[in-house]
């Protein structure tokens, strides 16, 4: 939620997380909780970045690895690796990141569009960027991380593969 700050412009709070030496912000109102990394149950026929599902107090919640989502490799899961549980449009999912670092207040007019600068992350998943002192924070668009169209595209691809196999 945006609140008017002292200087009059609206602000949004972001939880910042570390990922491959870069800092990303997630709208704090979408964050439900932060848990230490625990192994999950793999789901067959899922994109590689969907690690699996975990039991969140009785609900089955998918977990995606943000590194894999952005095409990076994951070396190891260690003591600082955390799963951030996010709720978007009534659906919950977990996002695995290297570490959580901070909560930032970002004035809405301090958010700049993302230049197409060849970052590791596809700009499609970013809302914008902001700088705090000499740090640059990329603000994530949580809605787009576990997109339904991903699942549909995957299904279509699988079906197509199945048809090809059937023909062969």
């Amino acid at each position: 939620m945006s609140q008017p700050s002292i200087n009059g412009s609206a602000e949004t709070q972001y939880l910042t997380v570390n990922l491959a030496h870069e800092e990303y912000g997630i709208d704090i109102l979408a964050v439900r909780e932060i848990r230490g990394w625990t192994p999950v149950t793999r789901i067959p026929q899922s994109p590689h970045y969907v690690l699996g599902v975990l039991n969140l107090r009785g609900a089955i919640v998918p977990v995606i690895d943000l590194r894999l989502r952005f095409g990076l490799s994951r070396e190891e899961y260690n003591a600082t690796t955390v799963t951030v549980i996010i709720t978007v449009a009534g659906r919950q999912f977990g996002v695995v990141v290297d570490a959580v670092s901070d909560v930032l207040d970002v004035a809405d007019d301090a958010m700049r569009p993302v230049p197409d600068m060849g970052t590791t992350v596809d700009t499609e998943y970013l809302k914008g960027l902001t700088s705090i002192g000499d740090r640059m924070v990329l603000l994530l668009d949580a809605d787009k991380l576990l997109q339904p169209q991903d699942a549909q595209m995957l299904e279509a691809a699988l079906n197509a593969a199945g048809d090809v196999k059937a023909v062969a």
Binding site: P44, V53, L54, I60, P62, Q92, F93
Partner: protein, 659 residues
């Protein structure tokens, strides 16, 4: 002084009244069979309560309407009037009309419509009292000399039920001369148009000496799916203004009522009436659980090994109580299947009259309980099977006589428990499946290559194929070929299956097997690599270990093994689900032979871990559907295990085979 808001009691009033209407209907049908005076009393009481309630809760139209019905019943009760078929018929229509009124009341729409007004006039006429209205005479007479004006407004979803308005028109045309006027006011703009829905309405003028009943009979199967009014047409002068208003206003509102009713029902969380004995036993169980917990609590302070046996006993008690508590809680959702069976006496009566067949309906095991969710979804498939049985299965009295059978056909509905499932059988003593016709049709449709050597089971299976129907003439009852495959799919979706057994000349038996509940399943947990999958116990036939040489490879990469004289395909779960580090050699692992939809396959897993109850959780709630997986569950250690969708795997296997 505080005022009481009566609206808060409406829901209870509606529920109780609908139950009262069900009771009325059941009693009327029993009367039709020749019942005693006590039945009349019970009908009277139900009508009286509805009338009283309607007046109290601010539904004067309903009270006035019920009053007429009550007056008629009063005469019957006092012996001033004998109960006969027309009266039963009239009262049954009254029950239907009241149901409609309750629907409209729930949706907050005006209660009275043209249908209820004309029925009220008929009731009053039957009582013998004059009603001061211009249309009375015409309405009370069965055949209006001037003909009829029919307002027919199908609901948007009517076509989905396979009902074709054109066919209705054709039937009407057979009754007399028609002037049809289409009403296009509800047709949406092209971009908002759903072609599978019906947006048209019709105003039909029917000339000829036709009885109202004959017209009503045409619309009998769509009456729940449309707004319908049948009004006498006054031939000489233009129809008097009140009649026109009565016709026009409710039809417009009727569409809105239909729409808002849908909205209301989807928002309705639903409620379950629970017997007080079930609640009492729950309270007892929770009491027991508290005692056990207190007993186990002692060990927290000090524990010495000498009391180990006590601890074990306490834990065993805890396990027992938890299990009984679980069963009792599930029991709250369990309702007797009678609530579904209740609709059949009426259905069978109407249907057999329409078709000129004599049918005796036997219902056994109405008290068998099953989960509310299953119960709600099994109604439509059952209705379909019952309609089919009467329409196709049972023969006409002449044919039955010729075949040396009792003229009265028997239709039996039976529900009972078998193992962890509930079985519903629909048995008729009709002609049985027409083997030749089915084979001919299947050949024509290209479903089979030749009719040679086809087993009876295979013939039975054919009728479950999509688009399959042998009925020479498509009737409005059945025979559209959209039925049986939908029945099977509905049942399979509920985790059950349908089997058919038929003997020529002796009848047909449909057996539906359903799980008691969808929320908890018994399953075997199987290891595949370092993962664990749950296979539902109901679908497991046997687990076997095969020597390597028992497997036959076929071209295309499939594998088969011999099981009880048949070759079954092997599905390697590690391949299917892409698990690494699983056992590759058939002799190292285990084959779980599973069955669903009448097909069998062997699932190859590393080994079995154990048997357990699994609370089924949805994967779709937060993720999406995954092929071969029906859901997930939580294991004792808090981790998640996936539940294998046996029917889905078998379907995938047979698709692969077909391809």
């Amino acid at each position: 002084m505080s005022t009481i808001n009566v609206a808060q009691f409406h829901k209870v009033f509606f529920e109780e009244s609908l139950e009262g209407l069900d009771a009325m209907e059941a009693a009327l049908l029993a009367l039709d069979e020749g019942g005693d005076a006590e039945l009349v009393h019970s009908i009277f009481r139900a009508a009286h309560s509805i009338k009283g309630g309607a007046a109290t809760f601010g539904f004067p139209e309903m009270a006035a309407f019920t009053h007429e019905a009550e007056s008629l019943l009063d005469q019957v009760r006092d012996g001033r009037r004998a109960i006969d078929k027309p009266i039963v018929e009239l009262m049954l229509r009254t029950v239907d009309c009241l149901r409609g009124m309750f629907d409209r009341a729930e949706a907050g729409q005006p209660l009275a419509d043209a249908g209820s007004e004309s029925l009220k006039l008929q009731l009053a006429a039957a009582v013998g009292r004059e009603i001061p209205a211009a249309a009375t005479k015409a309405a009370t007479k069965s055949a209006a000399p001037g003909g009829w004006i029919i307002q027919f407004r199908p609901h948007a979803g009517m076509l989905a039920g396979g009902n074709d308005p054109l066919r209705l028109m054709r039937e009407l045309a057979a009754l007399g001369q028609l002037v049809v006027e289409a009403q296009l006011d509800r047709v949406p703009a092209l971009d908002a148009l759903d072609p599978s829905e019906c947006h048209l309405g019709w105003r039909i003028e029917l000339t000829g000496a036709v009885s109202r009943e004959a017209i009503a009979a045409v619309f009998e199967w769509v009456e729940d799916e449309c707004d319908l009014s049948i009004e006498p047409r006054v031939a000489a002068a233009p129809p008097p203004a009140p009649v026109v208003e009565a016709v026009a206003a409710p039809t417009g509102a009727g569409g809105a009522a239909g729409a808002s009713r849908h909205a209301a029902s989807s928002n309705d969380a639903g409620s379950v009436r629970v017997g007080i004995d079930k609640i009492d036993s729950l309270i007892d169980l929770v009491g027991e659980l508290v005692i056990t917990q207190a007993m186990l609590d002692q060990f927290r302070e000090a524990f010495d090994p000498s009391r180990l046996s006590l601890l074990q006993e306490g834990l065993a008690q805890l396990a027992r109580h938890t299990r009984t508590l679980q069963e009792s809680v599930m029991g709250i959702r369990m309702l007797p299947i009678g609530s579904v069976f209740n609709r059949f006496p009426r259905l069978v009566r109407d249907l057999s009259q329409k078709l000129g067949k004599h049918v005796k309906l036997d219902m056994v095991g109405e008290h068998t309980e099953l989960d509310k969710t299953v119960l709600e979804k099994i109604g439509d498939p059952l209705v379909h099977l019952v309609r089919n049985a009467i329409d196709h299965g049972l023969e006409t009295p002449e044919k039955r006589r010729a075949a040396g059978k009792n003229e009265v056909g028997t239709l039996r509905l039976e529900a009972f428990h078998r193992g962890g499932s509930i079985v519903v059988e629909i048995v008729d003593d009709g002609a049985g499946l027409n083997r030749e016709a089915i084979i001919a049709k299947a050949l024509q449709k290209g479903l089979i290559k030749s009719g040679e050597g086809i087993t009876d089971e295979a013939v039975g299976d054919l009728i479950f194929q999509p688009g399959f129907s042998t009925a020479a003439v498509t009737t409005d009852l059945s025979g559209r070929g959209v039925g049986m495959d939908v029945v099977r799919r509905n049942v399979v979706d509920l985790g059950g299956n349908v089997a058919i057994k038929s003997r020529a000349g002796a009848g047909t038996t449909f057996t539906i097997t359903l799980p008691l509940t969808l929320a908890i399943i018994d399953g075997l947990s199987a290891a595949v690599g370092d993962e664990c999958y749950i296979v539902p116990l109901v679908s497991i036939v046997e687990s076997i270990q095969l020597p390597a040489d028992a497997v036959r490879s076929v071209t295309g990469g499939g594998e088969l093994f011999r099981f009880r004289g048949e070759y079954l395909p092997i599905v390697r779960l590690h391949q299917q689900f892409g698990c690494a580090s699983a056992r590759q050699n058939i002799e190292d692992g285990l084959l779980i032979v599973v069955e669903a939809d009448g097909g069998q396959v062997g699932l190859f897993v590393d080994g079995l871990i154990g048997q357990q109850q699994a609370v089924v959780k949805s994967l779709e709630a937060n993720y999406r559907r995954v092929d071969g997986i029906s859901g997930a569950t939580i294991l004792a250690d808090g981790s998640v295990a996936l539940i294998v969708d046996v029917a889905g795997l078998i379907r995938m296997q047979s698709r692969r085979k077909a391809a």
